[in-house]
């Protein structure tokens, strides 16, 4: 078969589509239509309602409420703002349980034996008189039992089950007795880390009992004895709506609970059925106040705080208007706190070795109560904060609540940011007056700072506050405290560019850091400070220009340092390029540190991010005309960041870039080009992924060709073929993406080979042969790859056989094959022999394909290839018709590809016939 003579330029003109200049850019925005569509979108957004969200809350509630509470009750509970707070309360409870996890073992010195699994005692109790509700067996035992937390929790769950079971069996007295016993557990605060968990478990049971009682009385009010509905209570009923019998039952419950001897269980149970006051009277505020007063009798601070917390929770079901009871709660807790604070000697020293721990346990209760105050009452009583001594005259303050820093802290947390910033100076003064052990003041200052940042105060009002704060923290010796406060105010300082404060703070940090190495907490704050600084400035240079910035950066180590470095890199790489040699050096150093700290412990994400940032940095480095220095830098990078595989690609790309730049800009580039190529030749083999290697080899080969180094190019193409070999050996089959990539790379390689002079010692067809042999060596390679590559080889030899090649290397020093072997018969012989070899293999490869459709399309592809490359001859048509037959047997007769190929075939054969005739 003979290769067809091609007229590439003529064919291109013939095949090109007619072109018409366009008036508009197709992607340019069309202003008229887009505004209209925006308007429509805006309208739609207004009444957008997420149906999923509504449903999920309902489901969540159903799950929470459990089976005892039916729909009616839930409706009452969830009316108004109660809806939100039930959710919040659930969250709060779970946080309570998690926050104070304690050791697994709890030593129990119970006054009641309820946790012992001894049920025979309960049986006789049912018929006892109310008077004896107090456990007559109450015995103070000094001995302490130790049980596991799990046992404790499961025992309480069991008790809950027992109570609801007893209730359903109409044994309400037993249910009440068990509930009292459960409430009595809260008397014991000795396992005080466990107390919050215990509290949550116990009030769970209390709430259940409360619901049961409420339901029972409601039922009495709504239904007659025989179960007929006589009156349906509205949601907001008045006590006048309730029949006397229901009232009687309700009052009886309060009497029963009133006869409990011990104070704390009595209060808890009354709180549990607090809602039932609604049946008896419309004025239940007095009861709330009385209960708050009664809680003063609970001397144990922890028990008292949680009791107040439970009241705040229960009272919300009544929707009280007045929040006086909450204020009273706070003041009671405040008095207890003050006692803890002031007391220097052994206040229950055997229990609370650590006062701070105790206070931290009480804090959630204070916080929740404060939250309740602000949920209900802030709008209604605008002068609320004056109760805490803020906004009023401090000297003649008649405080209801003792000023204690932990209470102040909770208050500040709930206050709206504007209120805080309006009274900031006063609040700061208040802090100075309330220094106690309950909460370190720096937390308060920090909170103040955060609130100030939130509200963006005007500069004149922020100034004095900052003065004050800086003055206060200058007294701190502890670096951590100093940092925590400074960090909170940094935003404001930066926002108003108060450079004076900034330098004061930096000096302060350095002074305190000299004393000792920063520990973990301090590192965290330092990191936050530095990240804020880095993020604030537009350019990194501004941050460097600050005094002491680098010194403070040097204080960091470990992961904090890494995170800061990443922020710096991110900032640096946000600009187009990095030119400043000092900056390059600095960034290089931190990148190196970042790189060196990569180890197994890093998560994949973390590693990815680091690799990305470093790669991006290297990518952006620009030495301008100093290309040699740039290459040196790349070499340094390769040595420094050897862990990062992705970076090597970038390095090769960059070195190629440099080479191209050198070729274009300078006259004597050869040695530099060679060093670039050498760099690449060394770098590429270290990349593990063969496909990427192959890409890079080919890219480098192109550069080499561009620079006129054809022998280098040849070597590189050879390496690429070797890669292909490795690729096939290492993996039997590849993902389709990889297959496509391999195919396109191989095709690209073939097209490169057109330009590379075939002065190889083994002849022009050496590469084609080695390609075929690589493929044949790999019997498992998919026939699709084989067919495509064999076609490519045929195309390659057909092109090379032309008297004028379709394209040439740009560099004049590279001589094209057409000139080199013009009219050389052995050259053409070589080419036709290689194409024959490829043809033979092609047939085998098509036959190997098992999938019918694929086989058909491969046959068609081969057919097209042959028709394009060879002159029409009987042998060719025989072969092609054979291929078309294969395709016809595999494909649908109306397949487009098949039809167009058949047409093409017909056209070629007609031409031939014409020529013959």
């Amino acid at each position: 078969m003979e290769f067809r003579l091609r007229d590439y330029e003529g064919e291109e003109i013939a095949a090109a589509l007619p072109r018409v200049p366009a008036l508009d850019h197709p992607l340019a925005p069309c202003p008229f239509s887009s505004s209209q569509s925006q308007g429509v979108a805006g309208c739609e957004k207004v009444d957008f309602d997420d149906p999923l969200r509504v449903r999920t809350t309902d489901v969540a509630e159903c799950v929470e409420d459990g089976k005892h509470v039916d729909g009616d009750l839930r409706r009452i509970l969830s009316s108004e703002d109660g809806h939100l707070s039930t959710k919040e309360w659930a969250l709060f409870k779970s946080s309570l349980m998690q926050k104070f996890s304690c050791s697994n073992m709890i030593s129990v010195s119970f006054t009641s034996d309820i946790l012992a699994r001894n049920s025979k005692e309960y049986k006789t109790l049912a018929d006892m008189h109310m008077e004896e509700l107090d456990d007559p067996e109450m015995v103070v035992r000094e001995e302490k039992k130790v049980i596991t937390r799990q046992e404790y929790v499961s025992r309480l769950q069991e008790l809950k089950g027992e109570i609801s079971q007893a209730w359903r069996a109409d044994d309400r007295i037993k249910a009440l007795k068990l509930s009292i016993k459960v409430a009595r557990l809260l008397l014991d605060t000795s396992g005080f880390q466990f107390y919050p968990t215990l509290f949550v478990l116990v009030i769970d049971i209390m709430d259940m009992l409360g619901d049961l009682v409420w339901e029972r009385i409601k039922r009495k009010a709504e239904y007659a004895d025989d179960g007929t509905l006589i009156y349906s209570l509205p949601e907001k009923f008045q006590s006048a709506d309730i029949c006397s019998e229901a009232k009687e039952t309700c009052y009886n419950w309060f009497c029963k609970i009133g006869s409990i001897r011990e104070l704390l269980p009595r209060i808890y149970l009354e709180l549990a059925i607090l809602r039932c006051w609604r049946f008896l009277g419309d004025n239940f505020l007095l009861n709330l106040q009385r209960l708050a007063m009664m809680m003063r009798g609970v001397a144990d601070p922890l028990a008292s705080a949680f009791c107040h917390l439970y009241m705040a929770h229960c009272a919300r079901t009544l929707h009280p208007i007045d929040i006086g009871y909450l204020i009273m709660s706070l003041s009671n807790i405040g008095i207890l706190l003050q006692r803890i604070i002031v007391d220097k000697e052994t206040f229950n020293s055997h229990y609370y070795k650590n006062k701070k721990m105790l206070i931290s346990l009480m804090e959630p209760a204070i916080e929740w109560i404060m939250k309740c105050i602000f949920m209900d009452g802030y709008q209604k009583s605008g002068n609320l904060i004056s109760k805490f001594g803020i906004g009023g005259n401090l000297l003649q303050s008649t405080w209801n609540i003792p000023c204690i820093s932990v209470i102040l802290h909770c208050l500040l947390k709930q206050l709206p940011a504007e209120v805080v910033s309006n009274n900031a100076l006063e609040i700061a003064e208040l802090f100075e007056k309330t220094i106690d052990i309950s909460l370190d003041q720096h937390f308060n200052y920090r909170l103040l700072g955060n609130k100030l940042c939130e509200s963006h105060p005007p500069v004149p009002s922020a100034g004095p506050v900052l003065d004050k704060v800086i003055q206060v923290i200058s007294q701190y010796n502890n670096l951590n405290e100093y940092l925590i406060v400074a960090d909170a105010y940094l935003d404001i300082i930066l926002q108003y560019s108060m450079d004076y404060y900034l330098s004061v703070i930096f000096d302060g940090i350095l002074k305190r850091a000299k004393i000792k190495r920063a520990d973990e907490n301090e590192l965290e704050s330092l990191q936050s400070v530095l990240v804020k600084l880095v993020d604030h400035f537009d350019a990194l240079e501004d941050a460097f220009a600050l005094n002491h910035f680098l010194e403070i950066l040097d204080l960091l180590y470990g992961s904090a340092r890494d995170i800061t470095s990443m922020h710096i890199l991110l900032k640096a790489t946000r600009t187009g390029h990095v030119c400043d040699p000092r900056a390059i050096q600095f960034l290089f150093e931190i990148s190196q540190a970042l790189h060196d700290s990569i180890d197994i412990s890093n998560t994949n994400d973390d590693y990815q991010q680091r690799a990305f940032l470093i790669t991006r940095f290297v990518h952006l480095v620009d030495f301008g005309a100093e290309i040699e220095r740039h290459l040196t830098f790349l070499i340094e990078c390769r040595a420094a960041f050897h862990h990062i595989d992705e970076l090597k690609d970038t390095l090769v790309h960059l070195s190629n870039n440099l080479a191209v730049k050198a070729i274009k800009d300078t006259d004597k580039y050869l040695s530099f080009l060679k060093s670039c190529l050498a760099f690449n030749e060394v770098t590429i083999p270290s990349i593990s992924n063969s496909i990427r290697c192959m890409t890079l080899y080919l890219e480098t080969a192109e550069v080499a060709l561009f620079g006129g180094l054809d022998s280098h190019a040849e070597g590189l193409v050879n390496s690429a073929i070797n890669c292909l070999q490795c690729l096939n050996i290492t993996a039997g089959f590849h993902k389709s993406v990889d297959v496509d990539q391999i195919l396109s790379l191989t095709c690209k390689m073939c097209s490169l080979l057109v330009m590379i002079p075939g002065i190889h010692e083994e002849g022009i067809a050496f590469f084609a042969r080695s390609l075929i042999s690589v493929l044949n060596y790999q019997s498992s390679t998919s026939s699709r790859i084989k067919v495509k590559i064999f076609c490519a080889v045929i195309f390659l030899s057909a092109s090379l056989s032309q008297y004028r090649l379709p394209y040439h290397a740009i560099n004049a020093e590279v001589v094209g094959n057409d000139q080199l072997f013009y009219g050389e018969p052995s050259y053409h012989q070589e080419l036709s022999s290689i194409s024959t070899l490829a043809l033979q293999n092609l047939d085998d490869a098509i036959g190997e394909e098992s999938h019918l459709v694929t086989r058909g399309s491969l046959a068609l592809e081969a057919c097209n290839c042959l028709l394009t490359c060879f002159n029409g001859s009987c042998e060719l048509f025989l072969k092609c018709s054979g291929l078309i037959e294969i395709a016809k047997s595999c494909l649908h007769p109306k397949d487009k590809y098949l039809q167009s190929t058949v047409n093409f075939f017909d056209k070629c054969s007609k031409k031939k016939e014409v020529a013959f005739s």
């Binding site: 015995v139 009497c255 009385r290 144990d300």
Partner: protein, 318 residues
């Protein structure tokens, strides 16, 4: 064959002057002829002196003759008749008017105490002649005095102030107490209605020894005129803790005691018997001794239960 009594009010509470309505319900399998059907109402104060409280001699004739408040019989069916098998309801009614019980005393409220009990019973008898045993059923009903009919304001908010100091006490811990000050003050209502809680307040002003608990005890004093002497018996009917632990000083603690139902009645000062109530405030201290005797009656003086103060406040319950 059963007979049952049922009153018009499920709570069975009636006030003097009201008429009590009810019915006798018979459930029979065979017809039953009767001679007559009688409903008897009895109200009596039963007095009894328990052994140990009084002397040996008194305990010999321990049961003092009960005082009758009301006793009357109503013939529901005066002439002989026959009851059909199945369920039959026979209504009856009578009034609790004070004119009718003429020579007897006033209608005291129903009360079940230790030594004194005031009880009102309805008994229904179906007489069946001499050959057959008569069928009968008994039901207690409760008499409460009519609060609305009381003259004047229902409760005069009369209260007393009390002081408990080291001087008011004779106590083993006294030397220890004297190292610092000990003073508890407060006030408490002396009169209140049955429906209302006893309110008051208490302030621990100073205490040298830490306090363990403060309890309010409600005491009942039943006095009986037996022969020529009055035998009084005091019993604790309810203890209510108002402070648990060493409470903060100078903080007002509320006293809030709900009166237990059935165990309390309005104060009665009748000739042959008295029912009165007292409040006492018990302060116990944190002391090593207290651990040794955890279970004890708070009334018995113990070294650690200090300042056992009987605030001699008689609660006039109305």
């Amino acid at each position: 064959m059963s007979i049952e009594l049922k009153l018009s009010r499920p709570s069975r509470v009636y006030r003097p002057g009201e008429s009590v309505e009810g019915k006798i319900i018979t459930t029979l399998t065979t017809p039953l002829s009767y001679h007559k059907i009688l409903v008897t109402v009895t109200g009596a104060v039963n007095l009894q002196v328990r052994g140990g409280v009084a002397g040996v001699i008194e305990s010999l004739y321990s049961a003092v003759k009960p005082l009758c408040i009301i006793k009357k019989s109503i013939e529901v069916a005066s002439s002989a008749g026959k009851l059909a098998p199945g369920r039959t309801e026979i209504p009856f009614s009578f009034s609790l008017s004070s004119q009718e019980n003429g020579n007897h005393g006033a209608f005291y409220e129903t009360f079940h105490g230790g030594n004194i009990s005031i009880q009102y019973l309805i008994t229904a008898d179906i007489m069946r002649g001499y050959l057959h045993k008569s069928l009968s059923a008994t039901l207690e009903f409760i008499v409460e005095s009519d609060k609305a009919s009381l003259a004047g304001p229902p409760v005069s908010p009369e209260s007393v102030r009390f002081y408990i100091t080291q001087d008011t006490q004779k106590h083993q811990l006294l030397p220890e107490l004297l190292t610092g000050r000990f003073r508890i003050t407060g006030k408490i209502l002396t009169e209140c209605s049955l429906m209302d809680p006893i309110r008051g307040e208490l302030v621990v002003e100073a205490s040298a020894v830490p306090i363990r608990s403060i309890d309010v005890q409600l005491l009942r004093i039943e006095s009986i005129l037996a022969g020529e002497r009055i035998i009084a018996d005091t019993s604790v009917i309810q203890t209510t803790q108002i402070a648990d632990g060493d409470v903060c000083k100078s903080l007002t603690l509320p006293i809030y005691v709900i009166l237990p139902r059935l165990l309390v009645c309005p104060t009665v000062r009748a000739g042959p018997f008295l029912i009165e109530f007292q409040i006492s405030i018990v302060i116990s201290f944190q002391s090593t001794l207290s651990r040794l005797y955890p279970k004890s009656d708070l009334r018995t003086p113990r070294p650690w239960v200090s300042a056992y103060l009987l605030s001699q406040t008689i609660i006039s319950v109305m």
